[in-house]
């Protein structure tokens, strides 16, 4: 099996997990859900790091990678922080 096909297997199975997990999220937390998925889609930083730091990378590519790392970091920090802020507001009755 080619590597691309393995990736396709993983992708398809992850879609099923996503489907199951997301339907379980309570509607009252849909805004935090979007903020949290926003933060975790910052995982693209892994791709940005690999582009920036790989061997024999040209200066142009390093700059491109640097911008990508910065953007992804804004997402990660901004997303998690704002999710945390929102979730700490959801309180039970005292």
């Amino acid at each position: 099996m080619s590597e691309t096909l393995v990736a396709l297997y993983i992708f398809a199975l992850a879609c099923f997990i996503g489907y199951q997990v997301i339907w379980g999220v309570t509607p009252s937390l849909h805004t935090p859900l979007i903020a949290l998925t926003n933060a975790i889609s910052g995982i693209i930083i892994v791709g940005a790091i690999l582009v920036t730091g790989s061997e024999n990378t040209s200066a142009t590519t390093q700059w491109i990678g640097f911008i990508a790392v910065t953007l992804a970091s804004i997402n990660i920090f901004g997303g998690y922080f704002v999710t945390h802020r929102m979730l700490s507001m959801f309180r039970k009755k005292k």
Binding site: I34, I40, V69, S73
Partner: protein
């Protein structure tokens, strides 16, 4: 320092599991904060493992990017108003899109220099660039509409769909060209077309369809990450992208269902006209057989109620009336009156928008109920108080088969004994249609700003007796 390939793969597996557990935490408010912590740990593990991997040879740019981006992100997240959440997420989606485009171009440059390009990779790069670019400009337009930088009105012109189709065909042409020779021209041309398409796809969609647009772009940003995962053969990116992509897709589906519209009709756009200008409020009301009530009248009915249901809408967010509502709730509960908040799935500008605003003003989540749960309760409520909501309370959705919103699930406000609607004027909601609720015998309108009227109600109820 270098980790082995297997160690890195294991670290990624742990990260992916933590992301899934993080999302699962959002099943209930009590487990949600722990979920967020899981997701944060997943991210830390993934980033650290990648940095320690042998494939990384220079750290300067990476560390600088993380510090700069992290600072900007933290400052934005600390300062942002809760009412501005839709804009913030739209902006963050655009960053993921742009990052995906940059990673694709960077990967192409690296692999091209090393002579490692092949047809599969070229196809994956084409897909990644396309999704990323559409997400980037589409989200920027959505941000502009939500922030009020560009008009929220749908912008359509003749031949729009034909133009999109032609651009789409040109895109595919460039992708095939790139696939055959891996050269820069088709890749950049393709990126440019995709950037243009992102703009064209979002401008015809009206401001009030924003809950769907925000969810849809959330989904795109996930697919962009997944596509990047395919180009880099990185399973963590693929798994995470699929989770995020499905999350947005399911939210889009829920939003469309709550408006009884097909996803396709939202995409085609053109729904919802620009709000009309001012009119002589009370004169128009009398002419059309609508009863206007003073705050004192409403206070009288509310005071004698044993249960009241509050229906917040986008107008509450605009007027920042959530804190006034909390005060009002306090004084009512002191009098032994039950207060319930009823939330329609598409109230506000993004999924769950109202819940966050009510939580912000310290209203316990037990008092906030979703549509299916609260609808049977309206017949037992003495007073329903509508604050800045319109179409989601319109009985025409159930009774008038010629109405554009016919079939849309609504909050059955009209079943309450008395209905008071706080509204600035008789302007129709985003659908541009009249709300039949206002002509019912048990309904009265209180004309004024949502926040000022809630404060007036509070003063009246607190002062009396």
């Amino acid at each position: 320092m270098s980790l082995g390939t297997d160690v890195l793969a294991l670290a990624y597996l742990v990260s992916a599991a933590l992301f899934i557990l993080g999302l699962k935490g959002l099943t209930h408010p009590s487990s949600a904060r722990r979920g967020n912590s899981f997701a944060i740990s997943g991210m830390v593990i993934a980033v650290v493992a990648t940095l320690l991997d042998g494939g990384i040879h220079s750290y300067g740019f990476i560390i600088a990017g993380i510090i700069i981006g992290g600072t900007i992100g933290t400052v934005i997240a600390m300062r942002i108003e809760m009412t501005a959440m839709p804009q913030l997420v739209a902006l963050l989606h655009s960053f993921v899109g742009l990052a995906a485009v940059l990673v694709a171009i960077g990967t192409w440059l690296n692999r091209d220099a090393a002579g490692l390009l092949n047809p599969t990779l070229a196809a994956e790069l084409a897909v990644g660039t396309f999704i990323g670019a559409v997400t980037f400009t589409g989200s920027l337009v959505a941000f502009g509409k939500l922030q009020g930088l560009v008009s929220g009105a749908p912008l359509s012109f003749s031949g729009q769909h034909l133009l999109n189709l032609l651009l789409g065909i040109a895109m595919v042409g460039c992708a095939i060209w790139f696939w055959s020779d891996y050269s820069a021209t088709p890749l950049l041309l393709m990126t440019a077309i995709a950037l243009l398409l992102g703009i064209l796809l979002i401008i015809p969609i009206g401001g009030a369809d924003m809950p769907v647009v925000v969810s849809m772009l959330n989904s795109y940003s996930g697919w962009a990450a997944a596509a990047t995962g395919f180009t880099l053969q990185n399973n963590l990116l693929i798994i995470t992208g699929a989770l995020v992509g499905f999350s947005g897709a399911i939210l889009s589906f829920i939003m469309c269902r709550a408006m009884n519209r097909s996803f396709f009709s939202v995409i085609l756009g053109g729904f919802g006209a620009e709000e009309s200008g001012d009119e002589s409020i009370s004169a128009a009301a009398a002419e059309r057989g609508v009863k206007a009530a003073a705050v004192e009248d409403a206070a009288f009915f509310i005071e004698n109620a044993s249960k009241i249901i509050v229906i917040p809408g986008y107008g509450m967010a605009v007027a920042q009336a959530q804190h006034a509502l909390k005060e009002l709730m306090g004084v009512l509960e002191d009098k032994g009156i039950t207060v319930v908040f009823a939330i329609h799935p598409v109230a506000g500008r993004m999924p769950g928008h109202m819940n966050v605003l009510l939580a912000e003003s310290d209203i316990p989540y037990e008092n906030v109920k979703e549509m299916e749960e609260v609808n049977p309760e309206f017949s037992t409520a003495d007073v329903a108080l509508v604050v800045g909501a319109n179409d989601i309370t319109n009985p025409a959705a159930k009774s008038d088969s010629s109405s554009p919103i016919y079939g849309m699930p609504i909050l059955e406000v009209s079943k309450a004994a008395h209905v008071f609607v706080i509204k600035r004027s008789l302007k129709p909601g985003y659908s541009g249609i009249d709300n039949l609720l206002y002509y019912q015998d048990n309904c009265s309108l209180i004309f004024g700003d949502a926040k000022e009227m809630c404060e007036a109600l509070f003063t009246e109820l607190k002062g009396g007796h």
